[in-house]
């Protein structure tokens, strides 16, 4: 049998190509080519990988052909009649799509025609052309610029409590900047409650030119969407690699639910567009809330966590934590991501230690710079104490304000602890359960924090809602998709209506508004739990097959989690 050496293949695109297989032997069946590491295992049943090759350049006479690799390798397309056990290679080839070719392999002709087809390369990167992405980005910028140009609309949006909270409102930033200019202390009094460094950054930008601020908000949105694009690409590629690796624990009966590239190739672009043109996001950007920075840092964190570099991951996590305290629950997720996607091979404990140390280093660097500004420790922690103590009970779409307007002073610290714990405590059990799915863990924690934090707004939900299509392969396991999605949309629309009825028309009261915002929070939580459950079920079926039989039973009993 001829040995065909399969080489690594390098693609010239932005994405890197993962060499998956270093196999020496290949065998072709009807429409399948299997790769084996050694000769002895050639008799094993084929592992089910399908490949295609380009018809052009095939010369059947001397079995020398130019191997052209399609970057959009479609797994499910079969190689009909390409390889037959009679050792002839037919002329019919399936069509390939975009072609990028680098290497030419010449096979020695032998009297045996063993499967000659080499294989390679899975590059699941969708290279959307830069032109396409630029078009979408410019559309988004134009939309935001058009909305910025209507100052009444901007000020109306800023006044909506669903969009701007006491933590992120633009009016408070303006007050903070003017206090800064006059040399006073930013955090004294009830004007600005965000982080010191952000205010300094914005005031310096404003000194150069006020237009820079608008530009900065639009840039943050674009950076976030690009980060989400890259994140989705990396994640999908990693998932596909995980699934199609030869030595994984995926059952053979789970073919119907396996990921396939054709279904997944549009998802990164969808996610980034969902973020760019999401009304929640546009509202946050146009009303100039500082939440946009939190979202940007979280998206960059997600992107960096898949890159295997602990420094950039912890840098963005530290920035996000410095902005608003809650991303600290993602520390475990960062460590687990680093462990899973690392280029070295440290143990989980080393990874955790390294991640924590780097995170603390970046965070203390931020604290030091903030301290240098004012020489007072208040400038470091005053926005944390605002987030934790929740002194301001301005209505928002969260669950804190309604309760804390009526709690007795005697019990206030107790219930503060309970509510804050409610946000943070989920990180530990989730990290334990989802320790091998760190990206899902990040997603769920971001979602929980967005729903239950002390001053949430619509922009918080906009981030994780746009990441939702990443799990579209699990949507067949969702139990209440229609109900929860309609609930979310309806309550997001009803909240401003109830606010107007209460404050504007004075015919409703706080209960109306709180009811709609409570239903909104419930919808978010329901979606999150549903998606989590669907993901876990999908993984179970992946491992155990779609209709796994119960081991202990002789009868035909099956576990079927699919609805």
């Amino acid at each position: 049998m001829g040995k065909q050496r399969i080489k690594n293949y390098v693609n010239a695109s932005l994405s890197d190509v993962i060499p998956i297989f270093n196999c020496d032997y290949a065998r072709a069946d009807n429409d399948k080519v299997s790769l084996y590491k050694d000769q002895e295992s050639l008799s094993d049943p084929p592992s089910g990988l399908n490949f295609i090759s380009n018809p052009a350049g095939f010369d059947s006479n001397n079995s020398k052909f130019k191997l052209e690799i399609s970057p959009l390798t479609l797994f499910e397309k079969s190689l009909k009649d390409v390889c037959q056990t009679t050792n002839t290679i037919s002329d019919e080839f399936t069509e390939a799509e975009q072609v990028q070719c680098r290497d030419v392999y010449t096979l020695p002709s032998t009297s045996y025609v063993e499967p000659d087809i080499l294989y390679l390369l899975i590059s699941v990167q969708n290279k959307h052309s830069a032109v396409e992405m630029l078009l979408y980005i410019s559309l988004a910028v134009l939309l935001r610029a058009w909305l910025f140009a209507a100052p009444e609309f901007v000020s109306w949006l800023s006044s909506l409590p669903e969009v701007s909270t006491p933590l992120s409102s633009w009016h408070r930033v303006v007050e903070g900047i003017s206090v800064l200019k006059q040399g006073g202390s930013i955090h004294e009094g009830d004007s600005y409650h965000g982080s010191t460094l952000l205010l300094i950054f914005m005031s310096r930008l404003q000194e150069y030119s006020p237009l820079l601020l608008y530009l900065m908000f639009a840039t943050c949105d674009i950076v976030t969407s690009l980060a989400l694009l890259r994140f989705a690409e990396k994640f999908i590629r990693n998932e596909l690699i995980d699934i199609y690796k030869p030595d994984n624990d995926i059952s053979s009966q789970s073919k119907s639910i396996k990921l396939n590239e054709s279904g997944m190739k549009d998802i990164p672009l969808l996610i980034s567009l969902l973020y760019l043109f999401n009304p929640f996001t546009i509202a946050t950007c146009v009303s100039k809330c500082t939440l946009i920075f939190s979202n940007m840092f979280l998206a960059l964190f997600l992107n960096a966590s898949l890159s295997g570099s602990v420094f950039s991951t912890t840098l963005f996590l530290a920035l996000a934590t410095y902005e608003s305290l809650y991303p600290i629950v993602l520390l475990f997720a960062a460590a687990l991501c680093y462990y899973k996607y690392q280029k070295t091979s440290w143990t989980i404990y080393t990874c955790m230690l390294l991640t924590t140390l780097c995170f603390l280093m970046w965070l203390s660097l931020l604290f030091v710079i903030a301290y240098l500004h004012d020489e007072s420790p208040e400038s470091i922690v005053s926005h944390y104490s605002f987030i934790l103590r929740v002194p301001d009970q301005t209505p928002n779409v969260g669950v804190f304000w309604y309760f804390f307007t009526e709690v007795f002073d005697h019990f206030q610290s107790f219930f503060l602890c309970v509510f804050q714990l409610n946000v943070i405590v989920f990180s530990i059990p989730m990290s334990i359960k989802l320790r091998s799915h760190p990206v899902c863990l990040s997603f769920i924690l971001i979602g929980i924090v967005a729903a239950l934090k002390s001053y949430p707004s619509l922009g918080d939900a906009g981030l994780w809602l746009s990441i939702l299509p990443l799990w579209s392969h699990t949507f067949k396991y969702l139990r209440m998709a229609i109900v929860t999605s309609i609930m979310l949309i309806t309550t997001a629309i009803v909240c401003p209506v109830m606010w107007n009825l209460w404050i504007g028309a004075r015919s409703a009261n706080a209960n109306f508004f709180f009811a709609s915002s409570l239903a909104y929070t419930t919808a978010q939580v329901l979606i999150l739990t549903d998606v989590l459950l669907a993901y876990l079920k999908w993984h179970y079926h992946l491992r155990e097959g779609v209709c796994p039989k119960l081991e202990t039973s002789n009868e035909k009993a099956m576990i079927r989690l699919l609805n």
């Binding site: 950054f201 030091v368 710079i369 020489e375």
Partner: protein, 389 residues
């Protein structure tokens, strides 16, 4: 009290006339004019009803009854501050619209058509009451709402409502304590806003309200002792509520028989409403008062009686005339040095502090700018690398 012009001109001539025995006689007469009795020159009244709601009709009737008596005995409306916390005459539940009665035979309409209520409804607050007493009102307060007394004014302060030990309730929302009241009166004393003050209070446990007074020349009467309730007198079935309190009922009975020239004394006033009639025991405090109650006329406080004496004779007036010596001259002034502080903001603009400008060129701020710029650069590079790479 003003000397009539008939007295001034002869007095001027008296300066030219030689001192005669006639002069001595005149001097004695003038001395008697000034010294016999109180040396006050004007009368003011502050009548306060602190309760609202229809079932506190009797408190409004109390205040209005005293108002009527005080007006009848001569104090003009310009010198009465009437504070009523609720409007009973025009209340929707009043079967006699526009009228307030203090007796079930409804003979006297104490509201009348010429009533002048200075503080009405929600304006009757503890703050406004104390501002009226101490004179610390905003500059735009009209004259009818000011207590423009001087050191020759006798002030009657009548308060009625719901009270408890050491407090009096205003409007069902706040209270004035006896300490606050005592301090207000002390402020009045230090600003010389009264000559003598009669404080009457008709509430439950009323004696506690005057327990903390410490300023001179205050006489206090309370309708009940601590631990006792002041009770109302009777119900008018037409109106449907109690319409007068016992103490005020008997006070009115006493005052109705008083005419402007009456020589009734305060000692007689103390004896009205004994226990068998009022069920509560009245309380009286005269230890701060200089004169004896049996030498103090009721009209010194309730009426605005001008003592006028006519004479055709001349009087030699010298600056240090004994006749003109004030009874308050040998009272020590304030115990410490106090300076006047402006209360309202318009006077304080020059006291606003200018915040110091930040020192932009100091080393610390340079380090801070450099460090933050470096960090910003690092973050931007990381972002670009992560997006591209």
């Amino acid at each position: 009290m003003y000397l009539s012009y008939k007295l001034v001109i002869p007095l001027l001539f008296a300066i030219l006339a030689a001192c005669t025995d006639e002069q001595q006689k005149i001097t004695k007469q003038v001395e008697k004019l000034f010294k016999g009795g109180s040396s006050h020159t004007n009368n003011w009244a502050v009548l306060v009803c602190t309760s609202r709601f229809w079932f506190n009709y009797r408190h409004v009737a109390n205040a209005l009854s005293v108002y009527r008596s005080v007006k009848r005995l001569g104090i003009p409306d310009s010198q009465i501050i009437l504070m009523l916390a609720d409007d009973m005459a025009c209340n929707a539940r009043n079967p006699r619209p526009g009228k307030v009665y203090n007796n079930k035979d409804e003979t006297i309409d104490v509201y009348g058509s010429d009533v002048e209520v200075d503080y009405r409804g929600y304006e009757v607050t503890v703050e406004n009451f104390i501002r009226v007493l101490t004179g610390r009102l905003p500059p735009d307060t009209p004259r009818s709402k000011r207590l423009s007394t001087d050191d020759r004014s006798n002030v009657l302060v009548y308060m009625t409502g719901h009270g408890g030990e050491d407090f009096l309730k205003f409007q069902d929302a706040e209270e004035i304590s006896n300490v606050e009241l005592a301090d207000a009166f002390e402020q009045m004393w230090q600003k010389r806003r009264y000559h003598e003050l009669l404080f009457i209070i008709d509430t439950c446990q009323a004696v506690s309200m005057y327990g903390k007074f410490y300023s001179p020349n205050i006489m206090s009467i309370a309708s009940s002792q601590i631990g006792e309730d002041s009770l109302s007198h009777h119900v008018d079935p037409t109106i449907g509520v109690y319409i007068i309190d016992r103490y005020t009922y008997y006070l009115l009975e006493f005052l109705e028989s008083t005419r402007p020239g009456s020589r009734k004394t305060m000692a007689q006033l103390f004896e009205i409403c004994p226990r068998h009639q009022c069920i509560s025991s009245t309380g009286v405090s005269t230890h701060l008062f200089r004169r004896r109650p049996d030498q103090t006329l009721v009209t010194d406080f309730f009426g605005s009686v001008r003592t006028v004496d006519t004479s055709d004779d001349f009087l030699h007036i010298s600056p240090k005339s004994k006749a003109l010596e004030r009874s308050t001259d040998n009272v020590p002034l304030s115990r410490g040095h106090f300076s006047h502080v402006t209360q309202f903001l318009g006077d304080q603009l020059d006291q606003l502090k200018i915040l110091p400008q930040p020192d932009k060129t100091s080393l610390g701020s340079k380090i801070e700018r450099a460090a933050s710029a470096a960090f910003l650069l690092v973050v931007v590079m990381a972002i670009i690398k992560s997006l591209i790479g």
